[in-house]
Amino acid sequence: MKKIALPIVLVGVLAFYSLEKPIFESYTQKIPGTPVTFDMTPIEGGTFNMGSASSSNADEKPVHEVKIDPFWMGTHEVTWDAFELFLDKNYELAISEEPIGEIVDGLTRPSLPYLDMTFGMGKEHKPAIGMTQYGAIQYCYWLYLKTGIFYRLPTEAEWEYAARAGSDSKYFFGDNSETLEEYAWTSENSDGMTQMVGKKKPNPWGLYDIYGNVLEWTSDQYDPEFYKKTPKENPINPSTELYPRIVRGGSFKTPAEEISSAKRFVNDPKWKQLDPQIPKSQWWFPEAPFIGLRLVRPLNPPSPEEINAYYTAAPIADY
């Protein structure tokens, strides 16, 4: 029984989630077969003003109204506790209380990095860092294979909508950067390293560390002109080039003053200069200990074909 149970359960889970509307409230996701869990927070759909009129950054203009469909967002940034199970199949096998199944077994895992990708900052409850956008999406794929639930990266618009939590100010709590200390790990208070998630106050919608600690991946290509031509509903500017892509929220290295809900950060080829190999790793930025990810789960998932296309898009060679 033990040997055949898992594929049947997996099919059952997939069927369940494609047929039944889940209840739209906070939940704790257990990673099957392991003691690891993470929390998801519902973000109601709505409209908001994206961008900033008062900012000195031209790429945050014009402010434009955007409609966003409902989704869950990770209450916290993804931590090494979960990410490392994905990183190393042998570790996952060692931890798992049951066979992981052929589908999960067959998933391509990240190349194991030649450097210590924690950069000496520790793992437990600390954000997973240094992954490429491809690596972040493949983590979502692994979670999908494990849970049957479509997890993905936020779009840039979803991220800003969630960070703003209904506000139009620089930060969700107003405009005073000194208050940020209560909510975020920035260059002023982080001691130069990532901090355990969830130790500061959350934003009004229940998201911890949405500013600071680590930059968070989005799915979008950076285009400074995008706000001039953006669609009004669920906008996305899909990534077609490796650089620059949108990352959001600032990190433990960012001064509070430079962080805001509207600020558009980007990835940089320099983050890979320390990679001694060619082609450079599709998985890791050895010089970016400040980039992490936060999950999104749309309330209404796309079709299985679209899900498959999202997860299996081939990475672009980097050299």
Partner: protein, 456 residues
């Protein structure tokens, strides 16, 4: 006597007239001195850098076409000097092709001229590729380095070679011999222990050596992380091909991770201590990485290295997924402590907690690039500046000493270790030849057993 021809230098540095005058003058001076039997300190006589009169590029050959070798070619090209990749060698044709494609894509046919008859495949490919070049990059798995380095020196080439430079004492002795020959021939040799080309290490260790934290009386060096790749066995592979594809897990090719990776940190200890240990004792084994796909190497080693002045340096390396990672070096002096890591850390602190020095971690140049910037500048300027091979060999030997100690479970002296005749290398290199280590009937490889295994 061969030199860089003057027309080549003109092509290389058209904008710097002073440079050319100096070069010409020094060249004449050096030639005169040489004929008088005296070698000038900054001799411009570079036998390996000769190019035929019609050539305007320095010719480069890549030996070992993996990701690291390909990366090194990129770094050579990025120096901006007139370099042309003219030959490549690898045991496997697919690896060679996979390496050539990105190089050609990025740098184009002007800088990459590797026709079919200069693609060399197999165990003796290196000899042919070396012959085609002025400068060679040696980046195969380390077990081959002693023979490849010896050949490159014999052929009088300028050399960049990756660390580690051998996997056993037999290989180390070859490298030390060739290092002497390279010095005699004034061949620049840079070894890819890139911390020597990284600013935080250079500056912080210079301050340690100037006495900023007193005499160094202890230290700890670490490479603790999750491990590396496996390439699953394919039914058509001979045992030799399987081991070559999975070279990390076989000591004749890799030397175990205490040598292949941890040599970096052990080398930093030697650099800080300005010497090499006289003995080692330690513990190691296979604890979490026990499958048949993991060959013979251990997944952890803990070694105490004792230096001539009695200082003990603690060394630790492990491949434990899920455990805490640590890759860095710490030292204790009579007046303070040092912290160093490849993430551009370099911090000196006194025993009241006051920071004596902190290296600025922003905007540091990539040390992999810096190795090539400095090497190629020396070559192009006709200078003899780099003799990294001896330290590369002695630091590699230190890591091998550590392995000899953990594998045997005995206290091993450096004298015993460096004279060890335990030769891991196969008697014959051929796809149908049998390596010295073969799996048992269940597919598992025998591995060292402390107390039983003989290493010296």
């Amino acid at each position: 006597m061969l030199t860089i021809p003057q027309h080549l230098l003109r092509t290389i540095k058209p904008r710097n007239d002073n440079f050319m005058k100096n070069t010409r003058r020094d060249f004449i001076k050096t030639s005169a001195l040489a004929t008088g039997g005296v070698i000038a300190a900054n001799s411009f006589v570079l036998p390996g850098a000769y190019a035929a009169p019609a050539e305007t590029h320095l010719k480069l050959a890549l030996i070992g076409c993996g990701g690291r070798g390909t990366g090194a070619v990129f770094q050579a090209m990025e120096t901006g000097h007139p370099i042309k990749l003219v030959a490549m060698a690898d045991a496997f044709r697919d690896r060679l092709d996979g390496s050539l494609k990105p190089i050609l894509d990025k740098y184009g046919a002007d800088k990459v001229d590797v026709p079919e008859d200069r693609k060399f495949v197999g165990f003796d490919a290196y000899k042919h590729a070396i012959a085609e070049a002025d400068v060679v990059i040696l980046a195969t798995p380390p077990g081959f380095r002693p023979d490849h380095f010896t050949e490159a020196v014999k052929q009088g080439k300028q050399i960049f070679m990756e660390k580690p430079v051998a996997t056993d004492a037999v290989g180390i002795r070859k490298v030390l011999k060739a290092a002497e020959d390279a010095k005699a021939k004034k061949l620049n040799v840079v070894v890819g222990l890139q911390r020597h080309y990284q600013d935080n290490y250079r500056k912080t260790i210079a301050k340690i050596h100037s006495g900023e934290i007193g005499d160094i009386i202890g230290g700890q060096v670490y490479w603790n992380d999750g491990g590396v790749w496996v390439r699953p066995r394919k039914p058509e592979q001979t045992e030799m091909e399987y081991q070559m594809r999975n070279w990390y897990y076989f000591n004749w090719l890799c030397g175990d991770h205490i040598t292949e990776q941890h040599v970096h940190n052990i080398d930093v200890a030697n650099w800080v201590k300005k010497g090499y240990p006289v003995k080692a004792e330690g513990t190691g084994g296979r604890m979490v990485r026990t499958g048949k796909e993991f060959g013979e190497i251990f997944d952890h080693h803990t070694v105490q290295f004792t230096y001539e002045d009695g200082t003990v340096i603690h060394s630790e390396c492990r491949h434990f997924p899920g455990a805490a990672n640590r890759v860095d070096e710490t030292f204790q002096g009579t007046k303070g402590t040092a912290y160093l890591s490849a993430g551009n850390h370099g911090v000196l602190t006194d025993y009241t907690g006051k920071k004596l020095y902190e290296h600025d971690r922003e905007n540091n140049i990539n040390p992999y690039q810096q190795e090539h910037n400095e090497l190629w500048a020396a070559i192009v300027n006709g200078e003899y500046k780099f003799a990294d091979a001896e330290n590369g060999a002695r630091s590699t030997m230190t890591s091998i000493l550590g392995r000899y100690a953990t594998y045997s479970g005995k206290v091993i002296t450096m004298d015993e270790a460096i004279n060890s005749d335990v030769n891991l290398f196969p008697d014959t290199l051929a796809w149908d030849a049998t390596p010295k280590l073969v799996p048992n009937a269940d597919g598992f490889y025998p591995h060292a057993v402390p107390g039983k295994t003989k290493t010296v």
